[in-house]
């Protein structure tokens, strides 16, 4: 990002930015389109010790901030600074940076790493504080994401999502893997490996468990899986197909699609197991339930009107109201954490496109230029959506801002990659 923009005091208005632009960082690519973007220019100095450490903290922090769409990096290569420095802010101001971050990482005698940083407001000449973390080598990236969260919150006033996790599924050589990865798609760890398909992972509200559909017993059944311990239990293994798990916000209940009574219908089931309670009674297909953030409604897909559309109904039961009216194929609803937005997939002229509806007004925007979009899921701060699509003939995971202007392709394993679900804030 070497272009020279005229810098305003608090924000950079990249009004002339028309063509897609790519980050120079190797492990990911941020694509910026559209006009009128307001991005905060920030300089992240190389962390003292980065060169000797297994993770480059400054690069991870910068990539996080860039992917959010709200920051623009200012070159800080060669700067010799750390959290204890008293930097002369004048040259940074001249470079157009509104903020500057610097830090260090040091190996402790017990083998852990001490990671520290400090943030400065370059414009006001103000120390915005800092933090330190003592972490194992396996949590160095987590420490970097927490630094990015701190900076994001200090400068935007909203919580960052960089230290959250994303679950997704890969298929390579007929081997399926359910992964838990950092929010940038890196640092993926396998939670489940299987020779049969795995679909529809869904994080519990506390971020400790995943519900998903596994075909390992030659039919779809729903498991709840404790990610840290690998302990899992069958939550729905009824006659017929069991699928589409969704957690209630309080974590006590799962909504699922079961065909045990003939036809695919919605049921709720206690998260500890037990007898399901039937929620819908239709002659058609009812599936893909998701709870509203207040836990009072369930959005779902039904073809009761002749074609798949998204409906909303009270959790207690009662009559559903239709939510989507444009087109003849609207599926895979996801509701933003503030309940304001509905993301879903629409078939338009034979291709599948991610749509974002403002629920209050019913206004719908198509925010991608790909044609095989699937499985949208909101970041816990509601500012980004992760979704699956195809790019250059391969499956890919992308993040996008709600207006579609900033997109990034997430890093991932080889093979096909799909079914992303963005986890909640970690405590």
């Amino acid at each position: 990002m070497g272009e020279d923009f005229s810098i305003q005091r608090r924000a950079c208005v990249a009004g002339l930015l028309m063509a897609p632009m790519y980050s120079a960082l190797a492990q990911f690519r941020v694509e910026v389109t559209g006009v009128g973007l307001t991005q905060l220019p920030i300089a992240i100095a190389p962390f003292r010790g980065d060169a000797q450490a297994p993770q480059k903290i400054a690069a991870i922090v910068q990539a996080d901030l860039e992917r959010s769409g709200q920051f623009r990096p200012v070159d800080a290569a060669g700067a010799v600074l750390d959290e204890g420095s008293r930097p002369d802010l004048t040259p940074w101001r001249q470079k157009g940076a509104d903020s500057l971050a610097a830090g260090s990482l040091t190996r402790l005698v017990d083998g852990r790493w001490d990671v520290r940083f400090r943030l400065w407001d370059v414009v006001r000449g103000q120390d915005l504080g800092g933090q330190s973390y003592a972490v194992t080598v396996g949590d160095l990236r987590l420490a970097a994401h927490r630094i990015a969260d701190y900076i994001y919150e200090k400068l935007t006033g909203e919580k960052g999502v960089f230290s959250t996790r994303i679950a997704y599924v890969t298929k390579a050589a007929n081997r399926y893997n359910l992964w838990v990865a950092d929010s940038d798609g890196e640092n993926a760890q396998s939670a489940l490996a299987s020779n049969e398909p795995i679909i529809s992972p869904a994080w519990s509200a506390n971020g400790l468990q995943l519900a998903y559909v596994s075909f390992e017993s030659r039919k779809p059944v729903v498991y709840v899986h404790d990610v840290a311990t690998g302990k899992r239990r069958l939550i729905a293994n009824f006659r017929g197909s069991n699928s589409a798990p969704a957690w209630s916000p309080d974590g006590r209940t799962l909504a699922v699609t079961l065909s045990r009574d003939g036809g695919s219908q919605l049921y709720t089931i206690d998260a500890n197991g037990g007898e399901p309670r039937r929620l819908t009674q239709s002659a058609g297909i009812d599936t893909e339930p998701v709870y509203s953030p207040d836990g009072r409604s369930i959005y779902f897909v039904s073809d009761r009107g002749g074609a798949p559309q998204i409906y909303r109904m009270p959790v207690s039961g009662g009559s559903p109201e239709r939510v989507t009216f444009t087109g003849s194929y609207n599926i895979s609803p996801a509701v933003s954490p503030d309940g304001r937005w509905l993301a879903y997939i629409s078939r338009i002229n034979g291709v599948f496109k991610l749509q974002v509806m403002e629920l209050g007004s019913g206004t719908v925007n198509s925010i991608t230029d790909t044609t095989a979009d699937e499985s949208p899921s909101f970041a816990p701060n509601g500012r980004l959506i992760v979704y699956a699509t195809r790019q250059n003939g391969r499956e890919a995971l992308m993040t996008t801002t709600l207006d579609g202007k900033i997109k990034a392709r997430l890093a991932g394993q080889g093979g096909d990659i799909r079914e992303p679900d963005w986890g909640p804030f970690q405590k």
């Binding site: 973390y133 927490r146 950092d182 939670a191 840290a228 017929g240 699928s243 893909e288 897909v301 499985s375």
Partner: protein, 175 residues
């Protein structure tokens, strides 16, 4: 918080000077909250995920000899075409003669559309076959209708020839 505000005021008071005094703003130690109470125990890696390998699936059993197991469907349809009727009758005869044998009817779709919605469409196909076998006198307890949606295509490729082969229901005899 209040301390921090005082500090901010102090800094504003000396603004104009571009280097900032830091001595009074300690770097906040977040190690305790970051590491304590984690699954790996004290000092363990917080973001660790325990890997699990799913068990292998049990094999399938033999059914009637020289009888096809696949029923193909038109796009967006779960109507069983007349050409499959005699094949279904053969399976029904076998199941009625062997009442301890069970079958799983596995419904499949082509690759177009969402995974969960296709799972439900595949279920419609397998249930159509289950109902057809039921009408031919097979006991309901011998048949389970399930769906794989678009997850298990037999033909790869994004064209009508491949899609037509993938829109199917498969009769699988259990051991």
């Amino acid at each position: 918080m209040i301390k921090r505000m005082f500090l901010a005021l102090a800094i504003v008071a000396i603004a104009g000077c571009s280097s900032v005094p830091l001595d009074n703003v300690p770097v906040e130690d977040k190690s305790a909250s970051a590491v304590a109470g984690q699954p790996g125990g004290p000092g363990g890696t917080e973001s660790t995920v325990a890997p699990v390998a799913a068990d292998e699936v049990a094999g399938t059993g033999a059914g009637p000899v020289n009888v096809a197991r696949l029923i193909y469907f038109d796009y967006d349809s779960y109507v069983i075409k007349p050409e499959f009727q005699s094949m279904l009758e053969s399976h029904a005869r076998f199941l009625k003669a062997n009442t301890r044998r069970k079958v799983s009817i596995e419904g499949h779709t082509d690759e177009r559309g969402g995974r969960e919605y296709n799972l439900a469409l595949g279920q419609r196909r397998s249930e159509a076959v289950r109902r057809a076998l039921g009408l031919l006198g097979v006991a309901d307890g011998q048949i389970e209708a399930v769906s794989f949606g678009k997850e298990k295509p037999v033909a790869l490729g994004s064209n009508e020839a491949a899609w037509a082969q993938n829109r199917r229901a498969e009769i699988v005899y259990l051991r």
